[in-house]
Symmetry: C2
Subunit: 330 residues, 2 copies
């Protein structure tokens, strides 16, 4: 299956490379990692049922992305497929299930980046786009721009054949209660997982190309047209075949100020550290020193994955062509 989808020239190269090809040469590496937000996620605050629901939806997203990679698809297709499932799940703060702004409206942001071409697409302040990650890709593919915002971005969606949905699509009772709590000035309780949540995916495909995708509903009770790090290239989302693909989640303002996703890439590129050390340095060093909370998922061109966070938990998953498959919360 996989061999059939490889370009003929690459196949010849692989077969001709050495008299006794190693495993790595026979089977190209591919890998995907996903996250569903980081924050105060303690074991004691989770029921076994809730834990199971999160694990199930994370697993579905991970496997949907992985199966695209396995059948020779691109890292961009894989990352977007995974993020779409998390957007459509009411559990995560993106798409359906997004948190409410101070005006009682769901406002959605997303970005994608292609590591091979350094092309990117981003959208912010959407109110009627079911899958913001798909509009981010449309911006990348069909506009001369990188970043479209608000009603203008939705006009672009309609002009390019993407239907809009009523605001009721995004409504969930749980998020509405969180807004009511925030409006009353109450501290959020254990049920507030995902207060700062965001979803994302990073992938390496068999052709060796990296991609990153991130989508979010922002923060509960946000005001003044606040935009966080998710749609900002370099802050919440970054991909460069020369280093790695990154998707972030956490207190967005700190990720913006630290340009955290591009920082991970720069550490690999210019300091020469590996993916694990770059992620650790950016999160446990730079981000933590600023007082920020959250995490990143990172994959490099060898399929090495880092999932680093300085919070109690981060919903996450990773799967690769070597047979690794992991879903974790704490």
């Amino acid at each position: 299956m996989m061999l059939r989808t490889l370009p003929a020239r690459l196949l010849v190269l692989l077969l001709a490379a050495t008299p006794a090809p190693t495993l790595a040469e026979e089977s190209p590496m591919f890998a995907i990692a996903i996250h569903g937000g980081a924050g105060v996620i303690s074991r004691s605050s989770m029921t076994p049922e809730a834990e199971k629901s999160y694990q199930e939806d994370l697993g579905k997203a991970l496997d949907a992305g992985y199966s695209i990679l396995e059948s020779g698809g691109t890292s961009m297709d894989a990352a977007i497929a995974a993020v779409k499932i998390l957007e459509d799940s009411p559990l995560f703060n993106a798409g359906r299930g997004a948190v409410f702004s101070a005006e009682g409206i769901n406002e959605l942001d997303a970005a994608v980046m292609d590591g091979q071409t350094l092309r990117a697409g981003a959208v912010a302040g959407l109110r009627h786009v079911r899958n913001p990650i798909e509009l981010a890709r449309l911006v990348m593919d069909r506009s001369p721009h990188v970043f479209l915002t608000g009603k203008g971005a939705e006009d672009f969606a309609l002009e390019n054949g993407m239907p809009l949905v009523p605001r009721s699509w995004f409504y969930t009772e749980r998020r509405w209660q969180q807004l009511e709590q925030a409006r009353r000035g109450e501290r959020l309780s254990a049920a507030d997982i995902g207060y700062y949540g965001t979803v994302g995916a990073v992938a390496l495909d068999a052709a060796g190309n990296l991609a990153a995708a991130t989508s979010t509903g922002g923060m509960t009770n946000k005001k003044w047209g606040r935009v966080g790090d998710a749609p900002l290239i370099g802050a919440g989302t970054y991909a460069d075949n020369g280093s790695c693909a990154v998707s972030a989640t956490g207190t967005g303002e700190f990720f913006i100020r630290g340009v955290i996703s591009h920082e991970v890439s720069a550490l690999m590129k210019y300091r020469g550290v590996d993916v694990a050390e770059a992620a650790r340095t950016a999160i446990q060093g730079r981000l933590a020193a600023m007082g920020g909370d959250g995490g990143v998922i990172v994959v490099d061109r060898e399929g090495n994955i880092a999932m680093e966070f300085n919070t109690e938990g981060m919903f996450r998953g990773a799967r690769d062509a070597r047979g690794k498959r992991e879903i974790a919360i704490y």
Copy 2:
């Protein structure tokens, strides 16, 4: 005057440092650089009168910022003072004199960043804020957020005591003609200096702190709520006392994809190159390789200034405590 404004402890340190203090220890370094946009600015397309007007307004902005530094003010105050003058000048594509969007509206973006604290403020899609750079600073100083957009950002302005102005404030006949030309699909003529223009300033103050400020009207005939690099921390604006302060101008989409301002900082920090080589590598290497046009101004903590661009010209100026004062276009 300057000595009086130094903290007593620092003064003692300076006086006690060596029996024979060098010039550098006696006179702390401070410096400022500004830009007014990069692009197709050929000598043949400029009348001597136009050239003189640009040089005059650049000089006013440069000297306003410099005099703040000279009297012991902060790099943030200096950078903002310079940018305000360029925003108020009808010559540059920021504030008054901004280009028109496809809807015939001036939409303004700006950002500031403080290199000492890595705090930042940014605004996009403003229609009624006379000096967007001042609102960016207000976001930094008085909101828990970094990036506010659209009407929400203007609500924040009013709530924090900043008046709004009618849209007519930003109208200039020249920019309106450029929009009409663009709508007719005409190629822009030599009079279209500043089509992609942006203004910005970077400064080092006597206390050794860096700051960056950037403000823009975006691009003529822009649609769909397009936001460029200027308000994006790491793309068009960046400051970190650990490396340098950067403000960019050019084809914004490429500066976003290349995270060019943070790239300059990362090259200094992690590759250990100086400010000139970092700016050159980012613009002549990375940006040019992507097909992007434009430039950056950069200052480091020793007051070294780089003004690098790959276009025919960049309106720019630099002045420092060693007595250098330079205004240039080509």
